[in-house]
Symmetry: C2
Subunit: 284 residues, 2 copies
């Protein structure tokens, strides 16, 4: 991080304990640099972070500022919003996220500690904030593409989904009513994010090359290199419509997980009729 | 494939329909080459392939041999064996796999069609064959590393598992009894292959750097870059034993899926005290 910042980047870190703040200070002293840190606020008990009223919050900020580290502000992620399925609960999750970080900011402020950054967001809550006073940053990730999980939560329509995996029909199992495709979990990921949603989309829904979703079809099973498409509507697969060799699109459950299986994006701009190939950043 | 074979490779293809056989012949005629093809035998209804008694099997072989393609033999994969949990059912699955391909070979033989390759295998059945007369090839994949799914089926012990993800403890949530690690599904994959097994291992079990499995701990939740380790035995996580910064190993549910998330293997030979870094082949 020291080297990246020296090259002109502006990388800060996220922490939630005094020990980590001390480690930052020590690293900065030993390496003659300063690294800024945000403190994670646990707004809904879904991961790590400190509760806004936890006295440790003040301690972490003070520890950083008493050493060569630098307290930058607070950050929350409303992971609980992924379990919301209607507007009212999305608004509630969004309001809770805002309230929790405001409370943290207020508690810090009483001790004369100010927050340069007050950062919130999950994609589900991104569209449900009513008032962002005091918030400096709204981060959202998967909204870039959207996916079936987001459509299931109700923050987008399925037709808004901007990424898909292009696959080829490589087999017919007429006895079972299956189309076999050359995209299994190595192409689609094993993410089953819609499994607990009202509409379970299996390993993905099917669209034709005109981006029309084909009713009733979904990837019902994913082997390593094979996917099996079945129909929720018995007897509706007309195999003549899906000849071997046909290219079709699979819409992802979770765009992040599906993208992670691939090295490049093939980017088509249908309005300007352009195509670009973008290399993905890999690793985690 | 034509180009690869011209360079000295020996690539054959797998198919299960007359249409595909015709396509191979056509391609070979147009490109002045010959490509060998195996026909997939469906031994347990888990994916594609032709049943051994299906008259199409004869037709596919004859189609290939009447054109510029070449019929090489038959191949089966006992995918159903992944649902076996005792020795008797593994032996049954293995015997069924052998019986089904032998029946296919026999049916072809009656029409004077011989199989140069008779290929079977799934990792679960690999250790349960009693007689391999007539089989020319036993393929197994995940046995290279083994994993928790295979341990759950009973074909290996957990201590046989030869790959793991090294991760760092980055947080403690003492209220919830959680260790937070920097390996989520981007490092571990979303594969939940043990979910339906008698022992569900979550997103992986935990071992220390001496390869000792730590009783009761497992990755109970995986976010994109974070994993959450919880204990099945209440109150047993002694947080002092897992300080922030500690490196631990996560044993994979499914070695193939976990490996697919990484670009390199770090290979340690503890006997000869050597280390090598192997680049993975990517794509699918």
């Amino acid at each position: 991080i020291k080297d990246l910042n020296a090259l002109g980047a502006n990388v800060s870190v996220l922490l939630d304990s005094v020990d980590q703040a001390r480690s930052i200070n020590k690293f900065c002293e030993e390496n003659d640099c300063s690294i800024s840190a945000l403190v994670e606020i646990d707004c809904d008990g879904n991961r790590g972070g400190l509760k806004p009223n936890d006295p440790l919050l003040i301690q972490v900020a003070k520890t950083l500022d008493s050493g060569q580290g630098r307290f930058l502000g607070v950050l929350a992620h409303a992971g609980g919003s992924y379990s919301c399925f209607d507007e009212a609960s999305l608004r509630e999750a969004a309001q809770n996220e805002v309230n929790q970080v405001r409370l943290a900011v207020s508690n810090l402020s009483k001790r004369d500690i100010s927050c340069r950054v007050v950062s919130i967001c999950s994609t589900p809550t991104a569209y449900s904030y009513e008032n962002l006073d005091g918030i400096t940053e709204v981060r959202a990730g998967v909204y870039t593409f959207f996916d079936l999980v987001m459509a299931g939560i109700g923050v987008c329509d399925k037709t808004d989904i901007a990424s898909s995996v292009v696959t080829t029909v490589i087999g017919h199992n007429k006895d079972k009513g299956w189309l076999i495709i050359d995209a299994g979990w190595m192409a689609l990921s094993s993410d089953r994010g819609t499994a607990k949603q009202p509409q379970d989309c299996g390993y993905g829904l099917v669209a034709n090359t005109d981006s029309q979703i084909i009713d009733g079809l979904q990837v019902i099973k994913a082997n390593q290199e094979h996917g099996i498409i079945g129909s929720a509507l018995p007897g509706t697969i007309n195999f003549d419509d899906f000849p071997i060799g046909l290219k079709i699109h699979i819409l992802p459950n979770h765009a992040c997980a599906t993208s992670a299986m691939h090295r490049r994006y093939h980017v088509f701009d249908k309005v300007n009729q352009t195509y670009e190939s973008w290399v993905r950043i890999q690793g985690w």
